[in-house]
């Protein structure tokens, strides 16, 4: 009776799929599910934030909200959203990636960044270095990364947002250093400098967390160029007895923004919850959590002073100041054939480990 068996199998499969999709789409009208597509290192941060928001939303409205997150390199995540990954909100590493979503998929308006305070960034961060305890290679500042015999771990700018912040921070450092030689800094010198650094890079992971794993767990490299929050997390996870943070004198102000994905929230009917979720990120409760997780809160008054005291004082420059904005920076450096493609030649020089 293969016909009957086939029929029964098909029926069972259909029933199975139907029941699961029912479960997934919220069993009762009182339950709602949001999808937050985020960048790589924010796993722990959003676990804490989502818990807090769910509690608050339940208390305020009686509705149960579950927030599902996806993490990966910011560029890669943006491309996935463009390709159809259904996100209610995106919380990525840089404005350029959300701009790309707006431009290429039209799922959100081009003026998204003005819809929330502080350029739609509830938290900021910067770029620092992590070295092994004792700092055997004496890494003190950016020029040490370009020295011969130093192995540098940083992610792939084609997929990772943090990687692009790292790249631009290095470039901006050299521009700043040469600001008296040429108006706005010597671009050619900056390019040479960044090229020298990338010659010391043995492997490009696809996201910031991957690089942290490569440096801390697989013991590759002498210095990890990382998000400040990731650096603190490394010390917490792997032990402050194994690693230390080296703060350069100069770095870039990284502003990871957040946004609704209008087309998705309207289709799924989740606009109200999603808007409340993003607004929640600016509330005192959330800013406290943000500071606790090593991100610099945009509204520091609400945060615990002890957490704030951990952040080192660094001279910071913004992407607008140094590079004329993300659109220009992305086009100049990270687009197909941009400066990164021109300078990164893997295997051009023997790797030292």
């Amino acid at each position: 009776m293969s016909n009957r068996r086939t029929f029964l199998t098909a029926l069972a499969s259909a029933a199975g799929m139907a029941s699961v999709s029912a479960v997934v789409r919220a069993q009762t009208p009182r339950d709602v599910v949001l999808t937050n597509v985020s960048y790589d290192p924010t796993r722990e941060l959003y676990r804490a934030l989502n818990d807090a928001f769910a509690k608050q939303w339940q208390a305020d409205t009686g509705q149960k909200v579950t927030i599902r997150t996806s993490h990966g390199g910011s560029g890669k995540q943006a491309r996935s959203v463009i390709d159809g990954l259904e996100a209610d909100v995106v919380t990525l590493a840089l404005a350029g990636d959300i701009d790309a979503i707006a431009r290429e998929s039209k799922r959100l308006p081009e003026n998204w960044q003005s819809r929330l305070p502080n350029n739609a960034s509830p938290y900021t961060s910067t770029i620092v270095f992590v070295v092994r305890k004792g700092n055997p290679k004496s890494i003190k500042d950016w020029p040490d990364l370009a020295k011969e015999g130093v192995s540098v771990v940083t992610p792939n700018p084609k997929t990772s947002g943090g990687a692009r912040w790292n790249y631009l921070a290095a470039w901006a450092y050299e521009l700043d250093r040469t600001r008296n030689d040429k108006a706005g800094g010597d671009q050619a010198a900056a390019r040479k400098f960044v090229e020298a650094i990338y010659r010391n890079v043995p492997v490009l992971d696809s996201g910031a967390r991957g690089s942290t794993t490569t440096f801390a767990q697989r013991a590759v490299g002498d210095v990890l160029v990382a998000w400040e929050n990731e650096a603190f997390l490394t010390l917490q996870e792997f032990g402050a007895d194994k690693f230390e943070i080296v703060v350069p004198g100069f770095s870039i102000l990284a502003e990871p923004p957040v946004s609704l994905v209008d087309q998705v929230v309207d289709k799924r009917g989740t606009r109200k919850v999603a808007e409340a979720y993003l607004e929640f990120l600016y509330t005192p409760a959330a800013q406290k959590i943000i500071a606790k997780n090593f991100y610099r809160p945009s509204k520091p008054d609400s945060a615990d002073p002890a957490d704030l005291a951990r952040f080192p004082k660094i001279r910071l420059v913004t992407v607008d100041q140094a590079f004329g904005g993300w659109a220009k920076a992305q086009a100049d450096h990270f687009a197909e054939g941009g400066t990164f493609d021109q300078i990164y030649k893997p295997g051009a020089k023997p790797v030292t480990r």
Partner: protein, 286 residues
Amino acid sequence: MSVAALRGWTPSIAKPSVLPGFGLTFGFAVSYLSLIVLIPLAVLVWRASALGIDGIWRVATTPRVLAALQVSFFISAAAATVNVVFGAIVAWVLVRYDFPGKRIFDAAVDLPFALPTAVAGIALASLYATNGWIGALFAPWGIKIAFTPLGIFIALVFIGLPFVVRTVQPVLQDFEREVEEASATLGAGRGQTVFRVVLPALVPALLTGGALAFARAVGEYGSVIFIAGNMPFVSEIAPLLIVTRLEEFDYAGASAIATVMLVISFAALLAINSIQAFSRRRFGHA
């Protein structure tokens, strides 16, 4: 069409038969095969061909891709060789000898088949890391296993382990002891008998098993990426490079590398089939 009418009717492509159902089963099987396997694979080749043969060649011969293919190729070959040698020993021991726990070991040989690759990956990574059970034994000598090509080698030996053993076992089992006894009565020492009478009969099975292990190793992803260093030119395997290109949304590049890997796989398959056909003709069994 009623069942009675279907009975005894077969489409003209098949020889007439009393049994019914050819149209239905053959049709379903071929449709399912096309939908799930053939059409998607065709799309891959079509996508890659958008680059043109020279385009594919150009992608395939960029230094990084060549290096990844080399890493995959050579380490897989080394692992397959180790599996041929030790697989032969294991098969021999399992067929010819008795010892406590033999049945359990026999069953365990299939573990790499049944164990998910990600589980194998993290298990091997933690075993061979510098603070793992085995890694710690080598660490004092400065030998790093995890996150080096050596780690990839270990993972690929694990993956290919059952192939040689399971291919050789049936052949060894069916081997006629009379031949060995005849050889002994003719004055050959035991070593001579084993190496000049038994082993040659096992060669096709050994080759087939080795080729299967090789083909599986070249495409392996899950168990390798946790223990490999994933460093281009040193410990980056070809499947990882495909994933990297995909994450950069370089579909053309990913397709090109995937096509090259498909070609390698098919070549291995062809080799296996030829060995089996040759062996069937020469020895009467695969």
